[in-house]
């Protein structure tokens, strides 16, 4: 019996074996009907649910299909748009056959083919013949990693080539394995890279190497030299007086001259040598494969000679010289920086010793140069620390031995080095631009000192003071001398300004003008160190000199050299004829004195009478009225 029927009978307390009474029968039928109805309702609900949910599910499925189709269409459209509008060439290539399956217009345009032509070609057709093997390797690696970036050369239809950077990726297309390559033309980028590299390694003005490349070349040369047990030379070349040219003509012209100089340097060298610009007017030169020092000397001399040849410049001829320092690997260092530095020291020494020359590096150069640097630093403060003092050397009458004047000479009471003579620091002062200050100080100090003696009632003495070419060039020399005279109240005729002949004849015109103005002040003028410079005798007549001082160099020579004696005699004769007094310096021996006296010199200065003395000693001498007679004057 069905469970439901059994339960229905039980609930109505009916017996399955005997039929129910009428009232119970009705109730029984009612429950059975209820069960049937429920079954119908269940089936109705089930069928309805099934139909509706099937319909709903179908709708959802259709919507999803539509959505996927749409998404696919959009995605395909996007891809097509990217493909066609890309700025790079895009290729789809079959992995097996290497045929070009698809290609964009950009690729066709770049390669000079039509799309149709490319679609009938294999990808290898656009590679150079000698690079065909690379395709195997690239596809092999691509299949391993799925993605690859590399550089290749593409050959255009007309045979020209371009460098491209390619990104490739493996894809599926219509069941076939293909790869997509996006190729970017990097020809221009490569050119730019090379240009950047050039900019990074070369001097933009002259086109020669810059310091970075120079160091690099030296490094490599050192490696090579080390392996081959060979030698190399580093030259440090500095132009002499380039600053003056720059000041005179302006930077632009200075630059133009530097370009000419760089060319001239290169023309003296072999192709394998390196020229570099290391600073404003400094050049470095690397000479490789040197066999012996003489070979270097030959090249360097050739360089120096070539630079000193006149430059046709600004419709005129320009002259310039160079000083060169040389260091040699491995003797003078094993590091590029050290070698350059040592060559620099050698150049410095070469300059100090007269310029337009070269020097090999020796260890002492560095020490000397450093000492000079140190001294220069100290000199800067020497005046304010009252370390500079004026000494006085007596000047006497040749015939009588009477004291007629003094030459003021600077002395530096150096706290460590003791008393320093001008040859140790005047050059430095010139380099450091301090010479004018020093001259001014000497002028004022010495004028005041000599005036003091005068005020003490002592007989008037002439005061000689040295001026440098810098003093002369500085436009306000006349005003400065005037100021010193006014400050000290020293009568102008007692002051004699000494100028070396080289100084005067460098700028003839200006010098004459300045000297004339000085003369107008009433001071005396002396030409110093006469006889060793460039001046010609005829110039003497054109300048208002009162005194001519024969260079001390003659004092040593006249005793043994009749030629020198003859020259001295000639000079004295001419000077006297021109109305100048003649003065001999550096007289140390009686024999010299005698010869000068016979030649007709008026006055004499030298250790034979007295060295330069500090003010108080000089004062004592002045008071005595004469130099201690070490010689008999007639």
């Amino acid at each position: 019996m069905h469970k439901i029927l059994w339960r229905q009978l039980r609930r109505l307390q009916l017996d399955e074996k005997s039929p129910p009474k009428m009232k119970e029968w009705e109730a029984f039928l009612s429950t059975i009907e209820q069960a049937y109805r429920q079954a119908d309702q269940d089936r109705y609900l089930l069928e309805r649910s099934l139909a509706i949910s099937s319909k709903e599910t179908q709708e959802l499925y259709d919507q999803e299909q539509q959505r996927i189709k749409e998404a696919l269409r959009v995605s395909e459209g996007k891809y097509r748009s990217l493909f066609e509008n890309a700025i790079d060439s895009i290729f789809i290539i079959d992995v097996e056959t290497r045929r070009i399956m698809d290609v964009n217009q950009v690729a066709a345009d770049r390669l000079g083919y039509t799309r149709e032509e490319l679609l009938s070609m294999g990808i290898d057709s656009i590679y150079p013949r000698e690079e065909l093997e690379r395709t195997d390797d690239i596809i092999h690696r691509l299949l391993e990693t799925g993605y690859l970036t590399f550089e290749r050369t593409h050959v255009r239809k007309d045979g020209s080539t371009m460098l491209v950077e390619v990104s490739s990726i493996i894809m599926e297309q219509d069941g076939r394995r293909v790869y997509q390559s996006i190729a970017r033309d990097i020809t221009q980028r490569k050119i730019t890279e090379l240009e950047l590299q050039r900019l990074a390694n070369y001097d933009s003005l002259t086109g020669v190497a810059n310091r970075a490349l120079f160091l690099d070349r030296i490094s490599h040369a050192i490696e090579l030299a080390h392996r081959n047990q060979s030698v190399l030379a580093i030259l440090f070349l500095d132009l002499d007086g380039f600053k003056a040219i720059n000041d005179a003509f302006g930077h632009e012209q200075g630059d133009a001259l530097l370009q000419l100089i760089a060319k001239r340097i290169q023309s003296c060298l072999r192709r394998s040598d390196t020229v570099a610009r290391l600073g404003g007017d400094e050049f470095g030169i690397l000479l490789e494969g040197i066999r012996d020092p003489d070979e270097t000397v030959g090249i360097v001399q050739k360089l120096i000679d070539a630079i000193s040849e006149p430059f046709n410049f600004q419709n005129a001829e320009a002259f310039i010289t160079a000083s060169v320092g040389i260091s040699v690997y491995p003797v003078h260092g094993s590091e590029p920086e050290t070698l350059i530095q040592n060559a620099d020291w050698a150049m410095y020494a070469s300059k100090a010793e007269g310029k337009n020359n070269f020097r090999f590096y020796v260890a002492a150069m560095k020490a000397r140069a450093l000492e000079r640097l140190e001294l220069g630093n100290q000199l800067r403060y020497a005046l304010e620390r009252n370390e500079i003092s004026a000494f006085y050397q007596p000047q006497v009458e040749c015939e009588t031995g009477a004291l007629v004047g003094v030459e003021a000479l600077a002395r530096w009471y150096h706290p460590q080095l003791g008393i320093l003579l001008p040859d140790r620091f005047v050059g430095l002062a010139e380099e450091m631009g301090m010479i004018v200050t020093l001259s001014d100080w000497m002028l004022k100090t010495a004028c005041a000192e000599v005036k003091r003696w005068l005020d003490m009632g002592l007989p008037p003495l002439r005061l000689a003071i040295n001026l440098s070419d810098r003093d002369l060039k500085q436009g306000d020399l006349v005003a400065r001398v005037k100021a010193a005279l006014e400050f000290s109240q020293l009568p102008a005729h007692l002051l004699e300004l000494e100028l070396s002949e080289n100084t005067i004849f460098q700028d003839f015109k200006q010098a004459r003008q300045t000297l004339t103005q000085l003369k107008d002040l009433g001071v005396r003028l002396a030409i110093d160190d006469f006889g060793v410079g460039y001046s010609t005798l005829s110039h003497l007549a054109e300048f208002p000199f009162d005194t001519l001082k024969i260079d001390r160099h003659f004092a040593a020579q006249i005793v043994n050299s009749p030629g020198h004696l003859a020259i001295v005699s000639g000079i004295v004769t001419i000077a006297r004829k021109l109305g100048m007094e003649v003065f001999a310096e550096g007289v140390e021996h009686e024999s010299q004195l005698e010869l000068y006296r016979q030649a007709g010199c008026h006055q004499i200065q030298g250790e034979l009478f007295s060295k330069a003395l500090p003010p108080h000693e000089m004062l004592a001498l002045v008071k005595a009225g004469a130099v201690a007679p070490r010689v008999d004057f007639k």
Partner: protein
């Protein structure tokens, strides 16, 4: 423990000659009855008077369960006198659905004690948010106490329910009883047996337990379409299609929600628990065999751990939706539970508007469309 179960019908009166003399401070009386006892409380009052020292708990139903039978217009009663188990009751009025959480807090605070083992809770089935009530109980007990129970029913009418609150039959109360000590053994089981079907639909508009729209369409229209000719049976016919709720499309854990009412004007459906926006809802339909298997599984879960040496009471709380679907077959699930439980177990219970029982995790939840069993015995 001493246990007696019996029934009352209007025609036959009490099924026992005399109400069992088991009144004591340790006595728990459970009574489940039709909602129309609200109009005639005499038999309930008689019980309450007869067991003055005992804790009398009860509520209205959508069908009273007694043994393997389901009846309407009756009372199903169980009287348990514990020997070594303390019993305490707590109850409160819930004047508004908004107060549901607060009611849960209040009851839990009254029952809390270190030796509290289990709480059995009955709530009115209309002015309550069962989810909030259960959340409050979880917050208070933190999963340390077994909480079971259900929401009172009103046949298939969803209009008025009652709960006994402190000796009074009331319409708006929540009541609970706590069982204390190491001798009481409370086990539970809960199973559904419904199949989801059709597409998952996004909850696009809802407020707490009121659902307005699924996938942007009025939810009530969807139900009407599926019900077809049965639309005239709303709201109870909507019980044929409970909703399975999940947090996202692929979530394993689903919650089943039963409809409590409809609002034709707002095109909305009111459920026995929250329907959060953003959750996915899927219609469910009955599978008779699975429903009955589910009841059997619930019974196996709630069965005794060891061979019983004393009486066991099984309190069966099954969803009104199941009764509507099973209809003439309803008693099959009651037979199935008893078959799966040890011989001699007494079973009473009711068809409810919501079942309360813990998950395996220990935290309690409001279920719908399940057979939930709670078994009580003293060791």
């Amino acid at each position: 423990m001493k246990l007696e179960t019996f029934t009352y019908t209007k025609d036959a009166g009490w099924s026992v000659d005399a109400l069992p003399a088991l009144d004591s401070a340790n006595t728990l009386v459970l009574v489940f009855g039709a909602s129309n006892f609200l109009d005639a409380t005499a038999p309930v009052d008689e019980l309450i008077r007869h067991y003055p020292q005992s804790q009398v708990m009860g509520c209205s139903t959508a069908g009273e369960i007694f043994g393997t039978q389901v009846q309407d217009d009756s009372l199903s009663v169980a009287v348990m006198q514990f020997e070594r188990t303390r019993v305490a009751a707590a109850s409160t009025h819930v004047s508004s659905v908004k107060d549901s959480y607060q009611a849960g807090e209040l009851i839990a605070s009254q029952l809390k004690a270190p030796d509290l083992v289990a709480v059995f809770v009955l709530s009115n089935g209309t002015t309550i948010n069962g989810s909030e009530l259960v959340r409050a109980l979880n917050d208070q007990f933190g999963g340390q106490v077994v909480v079971t129970g259900g929401l009172a029913g009103d046949g298939d009418r969803f209009e008025r329910t009652w709960v006994i609150n402190d000796g009074q039959v009331t319409q708006d109360s929540v009541a609970a009883v706590g069982l204390y000590g190491e001798h009481i053994e409370v086990r539970h089981g809960s199973k559904g047996g419904w199949d989801v079907f059709g597409p998952q639909r996004l909850v696009t508009r809802s407020e707490a337990n009121v659902l307005y729209e699924l996938d942007g369409r009025p939810a009530l229209d969807l139900y009407k379409e599926y019900l077809g000719d049965l639309v005239s049976g709303l709201p109870s016919s909507a019980l044929l299609f409970p909703l399975a709720l999940s947090e996202d499309r692929l979530a394993q854990k689903t919650i089943v929600r039963t409809i409590l009412g409809v609002d034709e004007d707002a095109h909305s459906l009111t459920f026995a628990g929250d329907i959060p926006i953003g959750y996915y809802a899927q219609l469910m339909k009955a599978n008779f065999d699975r429903l009955i298997d589910g009841a059997s599984e619930a019974a196996l879960m709630a069965g005794a751990s060891t061979a019983p040496n004393g009486p066991i009471l099984s309190v069966a709380i099954s969803c009104v939706g199941r009764r509507l679907v099973l209809n003439e077959r309803t008693e099959e699930e009651l037979e199935a539970t008893l078959e799966a439980l040890p011989a001699g177990v007494h079973q009473i219970g009711f068809y409810s508007y919501g079942e309360i029982s813990p998950y395996a995790s220990g935290t309690c939840d409001l279920h719908n469309q399940t057979m939930t069993l709670t078994t009580l015995r003293e060791r």
